[in-house]
């Protein structure tokens, strides 16, 4: 998988590799936010596209955290499965939570 290094082609290959890495980091996952349901915390968090696209190993603080889901009901199990309603993108965080409530 790794390129073989030898004289002049090496520079070309390394340059292409660098472009590829930069391109991959800059363009991948750039258009959307990532929503994560955490089964232990009972939370839903949102990471912005810029956080996701940063590339490499990195620690991130969520853009939004649905803290209310943690304590809203002691009888309710943590949310681990949910989805956006496909035809009606949420316009607010409360709308998102309402959508999740409907999905159970």
């Amino acid at each position: 998988m790794k390129p073989t290094l030898s004289s002049r082609p090496t520079l070309v290959m390394l340059t292409l590799a660098l472009i590829n890495v930069v391109s991959l980091s800059a363009t991948a996952f750039a258009a959307q936010a990532l929503w994560v349901a955490d089964a232990f915390k009972g939370t839903v968090v949102e990471f912005l596209s810029a956080q996701v696209a940063a590339g490499g190993n990195h620690n991130q603080t969520p853009h939004l955290t649905n803290a209310s889901a943690t304590t809203s009901s002691s009888s309710r199990p943590p949310r681990s499965s949910w989805a956006f309603r496909p035809t009606v993108p949420p316009t607010s965080f409360s709308e998102t939570l309402s959508s999740m409530d409907r999905l159970g």
Binding site: S25, L34, D38, G56, N57, P90
Partner: protein, 164 residues
């Protein structure tokens, strides 16, 4: 479980002491009433344990089914044509772990560009694979590995709109 083209797909890892790994497809017509329903398609592992603790599933733009094997720490792709009828599944692509890139993977989500995000319950990370890394079997290094103190057991994930 996920919906795809109106059908409901359900993965099953059985119960403790009774691990039965299967994937079921239910037609919309079978979801109109409560009660026992027979799956239209039942998919089972092949001899290489192609399903090993399946939990998360996602379809790519071509209709291929991707499954997160939580026990085997693999992501497998099943061709669209192979999941139309019941039978055992042999993956066309198997993505293995590379230095903890897959650690009890459970959630899968494709973004609009065909890149894949994977939630890892084992090490509380989200791994991202560029679509070019999914073309063939291997153990690629993720293009990004997101970590956060906010994650203690990341489960289902989905790409969606950002809420300002």
């Amino acid at each position: 479980m996920i919906f795809h083209a109106g059908d409901l797909w359900v993965s099953s890892s059985g119960s403790e002491g009774n691990q039965v790994f299967k994937i079921f497809k239910f037609l919309p017509s079978s979801l109109k009433t409560s009660g026992f329903q027979t799956a239209a398609v039942t998919l089972t592992p092949d001899g290489s344990n192609s399903l090993d603790g399946p939990i998360g599933m996602a379809f790519d733009a071509k209709g291929n089914l991707w499954v997160a094997n939580g026990f085997a720490n693999t992501i497998v792709e099943f061709a669209a044509k192979s999941i139309k009828k019941s039978g055992s599944l042999t993956p066309v692509v198997t993505i293995g772990s590379n230095g903890g890139s897959l650690d009890s993977p459970v959630g899968l989500a494709f973004d609009n560009s065909g890149n894949l995000a994977v939630s890892n319950r084992g090490n509380n990370t989200i791994a991202f694979f560029h679509k070019s890394q999914l073309a063939a079997s291997g153990s690629p290094t993720p293009s990004a590995l997101l970590q956060s103190a906010a994650l203690s057991s990341p489960f289902q994930i989905v790409f969606g709109p950002s809420i300002k």
